[in-house]
Amino acid sequence: MIEITGLTKRYGAFTAVDDIDLSVPEGQLTVLLGPSGSGKTTVLRMVNRMIDPTSGSVHVNGVDIFERRPEELRREMGYVIQSTGLFPNMTIRRNVGTVPRLMGWDRRRIDARVDEMLDLVGLDPDVYAAKWPSQLSGGEAQRVGVARALAADPPILLMDEPFGAVDPLAREHLQAEMRRLQAKLRKTILFVTHDIDEAVLLADRVALLRNGRIEQYDSPEMLWRHPANPFVRSFFGENLGLRIMARHRLSAVALAPLDEGAACRDAPHIDARATLKEALAELVGARANRLVVCENGIPLGTVDFDSLVAAMGDDLGSTDA
């Protein structure tokens, strides 16, 4: 858990980060969201001591980070940046093995770990380990960046607009991949972005920053239902409800019973793993009043517009399946 208290950073007369309190729960992904210049990257870089705060404190699992050696602290926090920052003079294998090497692991253990990490991010080690960074596409390079950050199994990940520089299609893949990885690894993640869709899709909780202050720190559902002020409401805009629908899957919705003899083939139907947003799109697209929800070709129940609305009600949980 990361506990930020009264964190402030001034550059001369300019206050980049203004007395921020933030508690990042263990195993959750917390997004720092805000327009450029809102101070989100500065907050991130104060957590791993790449920037020294003017005042305030940061504790990681109860330990004051200013009592730690900066290099050791950073090795326990995976670091992923927008431009990947892969070392062009090293192969992918050496890039991914950087932190284990810094920590003095033996060669065999590093090699095994690198293979494991490349597999984890969906890159075949036999194909990619010997390549050079210049030989990768933007999406591949970013996967390697994530693999490098995870290599020494740090409990914390710091990610600074990690998918900002890749094309939209690759970005969607990487975001889906990120959700899958986080469901599996449950790291404590601090994730900086200015992309609202990305924030709402990935976050357990979002801290919305403006001018170095936190406007609201809540789950996306709470930001939508209970915005703290007009800025929060207008920042997320009219589409936030739809974005929230993309966070939740049909498997979490109470389905209506099936008609006698209903099958997945003839009626308008949808996969149980689809999101609520996809279900809504399918209802509109098929001009249907309801859809049969199917899992592996077996009908489970039906969903209609009213049940979608009901699912988006006040008892909507913040965790997505």
Binding site: M50, R74, I81, G85, F87, N89, S134, A149, L158
Partner: protein
Amino acid sequence: MRDARASVTIHWASITALFAAVVWMTFDVAGFERLLRLLVPGQDVVTYPTKALPLLMAEQLFLTASASGIALVIGSALGAVALSRVGLPFRDLIVSAGSLAQTVPTVAIMALIIPATGYGARPVIVALVLYSILPIMLNVIAGIDGVPPDVSDAAHGVGMSPAQRLIWVQLPLAMPVIMGGIKNMLIINVSAATLGAVVAAGGLGMPILAGFHRYNNAFILQGALPAMALALLFDRLLSSPNAGATAAAEA
């Protein structure tokens, strides 16, 4: 790929040829003499009588190597200081001092320091060092400055110490630029070391100077040809086989 392989072959062939030329001119007295007679017909004496070529070549290499070695150490150190947090405010000053040292003619430097150092190798080495610090220092600074900021940032963020950042990331990436500076310095020094003859430091400048005094072009060629071959050899040795080959390896 085929072009790249061909140019690598040419690269090593030219290194071999230049090395053979240097060795041949240095040690095959009779053979080199035949070449000089061919190039300068009608000259009775074509071989510089005072010192043998192997000794002159050794002196030349000694002057070049010691000046280049010292300049490399001082230039790199000054470059490192200019890049460090302490030296950053003085960076312009350090670079200007290096530029100033290079504006003073080498001969003038030698003349000015002879009262302090006496005649011989020392004034030449000092003059060459003063002259060589700037290219080394500038290339060290340019090389490290040229490391992409995101790469340095990542090195910082994954937990490398300043020394680890330098050794693992910044120096390897700056190396092509730094090697370019070393190459230029060596080429300049191997030629400029012929000035050593003026202050009795020996070297391949001796036959050149003698040829100048005695109107003997053969003597001049006897000093100049090995010096040129040596400079070309250094140039080839410190160049990458070719840019195309590097690009092909990365593609």
